[in-house]
Symmetry: D3
Subunit: 325 residues, 6 copies
């Protein structure tokens, strides 16, 4: 039974990933286990009240476990009371399959991106982009990487989804502003976040790698792009420079980690298109969670530093009606 | 002869608007007149070396004048040496026709915007938008207003041009993120800057009105939208609130004059789409000026606080070639 | 028995408002209810250890309840152990009467404000101010509204109290600086925060309304003032503009929500007088709480980002003595 | 003839202070002298066109000079064309008498301040304040010191004028908030800026002293207050501490030079009252200059970073009329 | 048994200082005591599960207690379960001896500092420095003071250790930049933080004094230095000014509490050398704690606002090997 | 005759570099040439009053010219009146030899740096550093590069001088804090700014290259270091990562261009040591200029945003005397 299918008051028997594990003081037995479990359909808190100290030594966060017990409601939200828990060996279950996952079809997204890549007219840029995606190792990592550790598109496939969104926005930007170098903008849109495949790891959880933390995806991504461009014969130096600059400056300011601010029209276009895509994803994700709980306002978002307005059933109904007449 | 047609070393006889007038100390006669003249095709500095004090009393900035003299080169740029200058009466020449003007066709832009307005499905929003544009006084001001005093789209018709660009970007945003309320987003895109018709004046120059300076276009625009919405029968209160919020928050933060930060998905979408459109216009305009002068880097932009990279003939040639093989 | 009268170790039987309700895990029974109760004399934490899950479904935050039990001491502060709890119907008890309330007399404050209003010489401003307070609906809301959700004057009647303080400070400001337009300053002082009657709700707790959160009291207040001014015959446009500007800019900078910074002498005067009144209220309130607990320093104040110095009995005694000789 | 009495087109013969002197390239003779001259009634630009190099060696900025010539108009403002210039010896003319000077009566201001000092009930604070003003050297410097180099109250007597204004505002603050320690607040109001008598020099111009620049008036003033308090027998230590803290923190934040933020109610009260007084002085002074020139908006103020709205004759007339009916 | 000697699973009987005491709700008995105990070798959490309410009244944070019980492991860290606890009278045990303490030898540090003092050639500065350290009261406080409440060098002897480090860095700075006034720099290095002996108290915990909080160590230290300099005959005024400025500006900016930014070469040198010494101490201390727990990354540091990279056994081993060939 | 040897009132005949050239309006002939000329000993303003328009076409900024005329004084500073000017061909004179140049001996600095490099014990780091300096092309650029365009060490040889200073400071840092990895710190100190050899050009002036402006020396330097490390056999990956991080983070924060803040002890050490070295150089250079002009305070420094205190002859004399007794 997957998490999205659990119901309060019902028994369950599921295979889930342990996302967080804490042995805490409290409960009748002195100690209890406080867990967060997840699969591709969601996350749920869980408690083990009996025999917690001993059980705690048998598994760790990142393990896949088979659990059984009863689903309860606590503060209007689902919580599992575990009566049995046992580790499933990595051979039987791939932890990464239990992580949150884009709701979109990865194959469709990949085709969409390939299409964009092929629309690039400049042969050097096209060869750079297509060549990179011919590399099976890269392609595999790119297709499953999350878009971030916990900010936006923080789910398996999120990087690909985000990249397609940014590329689609840039297509329109290039139409509205024909003075832009469309080829450079589209290549940069596709490549801007490839450093995330090295910045993050997502085997059993979304984490930063050491080099991700110490260097960051801008540096790691630009390094790959530079090396690839050096291998494409006759790639103009000025174009390499513009491409490197576009990737390194796409966070917009030093405050957000870009060593240089955007100084070309394509760089400013990518920065804003990327920010637009990321921010709307953050808003929609945060609002969906609140809407599921029937709230008119979301909780305060730690990074956005604000609550978001969801509104309620009455208004929406009223609005729909008025939209029909 | 229009400014774009003047050539160094040639005589001229033109009708131009005085954009700036200063009586300065210097020259052989003790005083000279230092002017900036403009028409719809551009701006040019001009000097009057003889009889400056007396001439200075005959006209003011904002007057249209007939001037004759010789075009010279000074520091690689055109400069006029005026030998004759006389005021043209307002009946003969409308000053606003001498201000810089969008290169796009106003009629085409208006049709494009009307199309977007008609694509709104929600009857209240559609009626609000279309009703406003049926008001001939508003429509006339909206069609000629500049987009800003001197930052982006600072030319007659700039507000309309900017509004169309933002609306077109938002169309794509609504496609990429179907969770957004397209009708609200498109209505807000069309209405977001209408307060500029009251914030600015552009009879003889681009200036702030008193209420523009003291209240600003966000407040002035929201006031109009609110009054219009109150006149549309059955306009849902929640929708009025969302629309007002979207307009008031579209500058993103208090630092840029929004009394509230965006708290709905449509508000964040409009903010970023608007910023993207405005910034690219600033970049392209600033780079065009430098490219005309054959410079590889622009001068430092006072608001962007950076120079922009234009690059040069060699690279572009090289790039095009390499793009062909 | 009111909260201010409760004593540790004594039994009680009181009617109180539930300000906060949480069902938490812990205690012998697995769950307990963690409450904050309040009436006009103060707030007190309370616990229900028995039968918490079931009781939890019978009432919500915002309900008035009759409770009985024993008052205890926990970490040097009073805490109630509830043994009985039952809901009181809204007919029997008006929730808003249990909210914290100014210690000052509302009637006296109202008279004081009316006096200030009548001292305005300019007939348009006087008519605007007095007309607004003749509206019984507005007057009722204005008289009971809190000054803020939780920052300063956060109690029933706080808005009126704050308004009187600011008006009294402005009277002196106008004396010290006779160049100021006293009428404009006094009208603005009276009207500056009237938007809070729409920004906040205080039926069962101090909360933001949707429009309060999305538009804010500056916008809501200026809208009312503008509409009222439009109804006063012959109200000069320039005076409307100055009044709107004074209200919209009274938070001083965009960072604090003003879409424009103060640009007239009256606007800067109101901003600083208002800030002075609000800050002293925050300081005095925060220090009073600490003084009651016998502490020399307050806890760190979340918004002021500092602890405040209260000092202690020794010094005060010493000081008084030394002040007498 | 004093500067306020000069008229365009008329000859003059005046004794003035040289506030600024620059030998510049230009004019028919290759060089000219560009001066700013001042006396207690104002400042005026002046030019010497003949024999500038030689004349330049005969006097310096800070000298008093007798000048004769013709008053002209340049860019709508008065400018002197000097035909004769000769130095006046310091014995004949005290430079400081030519500096700008408060329009108020210094004797009246001093009496007002003495009154406030005597109203202090606490004997230690009263003795400290009155003792300081019994020191004739201090009193003389305090009575003539400017309030700042060029920000607010930048004229002889400005410190005294500012101090009286702040003290008068604090009197009302203490009435509105009776919880405040009135004696401490009034003493601090009187003493808060006494360090300016050591921070600034105003013999021939308003300048910083070395210690003013390197230590600042907060440190210099607190040092004097501390030493004085140490000499008052029995002055309570806690009161010394509160007084020192109030003076050191009165700029409000580290950004404005206070080593500590205000942490007592009296300190926050003084900070805001002082800021209010200083800001209104800045506004009124800046607006007066623009009003004299018939402008609706002031020039941008370098420290306030904004233009101020003065408005014009029409509105004022309209306002007065409407105020009469 | 000292804290560094405790082992999980073993019984203990130790004399320790109570650094923190909280009576909390939970556990089988309804309440338990949650303590932090410390001695010069470290800190450890402890719990009392039985009879907590009654025991809680017998001692306070800051008391020295004799405790016995069993050491356990909780979340990979040591935790004590106390079975007996009794207060030790202050006569028997000096609380300050149980506070964390520098690992360096205080005598060696003092000799090192004396050496630096004697190397000063300027007689006034040397006399000022050496005279201060001849004062036994000052010397005693200086030798044991912590370097800060909880940021860097937060242990007994930390001030002395930090001062020696800064002085040693400044010795090299003066070598590399011989243009600097070595004597002034070395004197300022020795004296820069002496105000901490009055800003902090460390009898039973590291706390701010009232004057430490309200005035700060920059003000307190400069006051002492100034008084001492006034007592040294013939001490040049300009040198006093430079020394005061160096001390007051050594935090670099107003944001960090300096009323003036550094304006001499010696002041900027001291500021940066001091910052360097303090920051490296913070890094090394924070990393040591993580290394002890076998972590590759530290927890996020509250003041540095980042995690630090420790790295792991593998890399170090690899590195050492590779370093050998 | 070199610039340092010119004297007011004397004729000269010199070979100098044109650092700046402007054709300006003014003077008797309508136009004059306003130049800045320089050689390795300094910079001097110069004017050409006759035949300026024609002469202006014969040379450009960056050319070496032979000039003759008379040295004059203008506003207390030297200025040249040119009577003859002719271009010197690049074969005859190397422009870069006329740029400002370190006063130190380049050979001595290089030996010092080589010594530091050889003191590195870790074979991989030593090989990386020494290998780089064996590359004659790199070594030549490194030895002559300026340290910056115009901030600190802005003279030929400035990069080498700055690098030696930072390395010497780091030697002491490693002594004071033996927990640091001395080898990593010393290697990073030597390599931290090598990207400046690609960021800047100094053929005829100090300028940014395109890649310098668009990518910056942090990115360019890390790229070189990374490539070199990849070529050293067996270079541990973790060490590469730490070295890259140290270089990229050495500006301390994103605001100053580092994509990551320092997260290791060596990185924070290098950042502060580098900042210390750069700031003292800025202070000393700016103060020397003012001291040469006999000023007690420097002009406001554009980047430091402050004036610096130089002080005067009296104090220094007094100080020296008092230092002798």
């Amino acid at each position: 039974m997957r998490i999205a299918e659990l119901e309060p008051g019902k028994e369950f028997d599921s295979v889930l990933l342990v996302a967080r594990k804490e042995l805490r003081q409290g409960g009748r037995a002195g100690f209890f286990l406080d867990l967060t479990l997840c699969d591709a359909t969601g996350r749920v808190p869980a408690k083990v009240w009996e025999n917690a100290s001993a059980l705690s030594e048998r598994f760790e966060a990142g393990d896949v476990v088979r659990v059984a017990g009863v689903a309860e409601t606590y503060r209007n939200a689902l919580q599992l009371r575990l009566e049995r828990i046992e580790v499933v060996s990595p051979e039987e279950a791939e932890p990464s399959e239990f992580l949150p996952r884009t709701k979109k079809d990865l194959g469709v997204l990949e085709s969409r991106l390939a299409e964009v890549g092929k629309s690039i007219q400049n042969t050097h840029l096209r060869e750079l982009v297509l060549g990179l995606f011919r590399d099976p190792g890269f392609r595999k990592r790119f297709r499953t990487a999350p878009g971030a550790k916990d900010l936006h598109h923080a789910y398996v496939g999120g990087l690909l989804e985000h990249t397609v969104e940014v590329a689609e926005l840039c297509e329109r930007v290039a139409e509205v502003f024909p003075e832009l170098d469309r080829d450079l903008l589209m290549a940069a849109a596709i490549l801007h976040d490839i450093g995330k495949t090295e910045e993050l790891s997502w085997e059993t959880a979304f984490e930063y790698t050491d080099q991700g933390q110490l260097l960051g995806h801008l540096i790691l991504g630009e390094r790959v792009v530079r090396e690839r461009a050096d291998q494409v014969e006759g790639f103009p130096e000025d174009l390499k420079l513009r491409l490197s600059h576009t990737i390194l400056s796409h966070h917009g300011t030093g405050e957000f980690g870009s060593p240089k601010v955007p100084m070309t029209a394509e760089a400013i276009a990518l920065h804003h298109a990327e920010d637009l895509g990321a921010k709307i994803n953050m808003f929609l994700g945060h609002m969906a969670a609140a809407r599921d709980q029937g709230r008119r306002w979301t909780e305060r978002h730690w990074a956005l530093k604000r609550s978001l307005y969801v509104g309620g059933a009455e208004e929406e109904a009223a609005e729909e009606e008025s939209g029909e007449d």
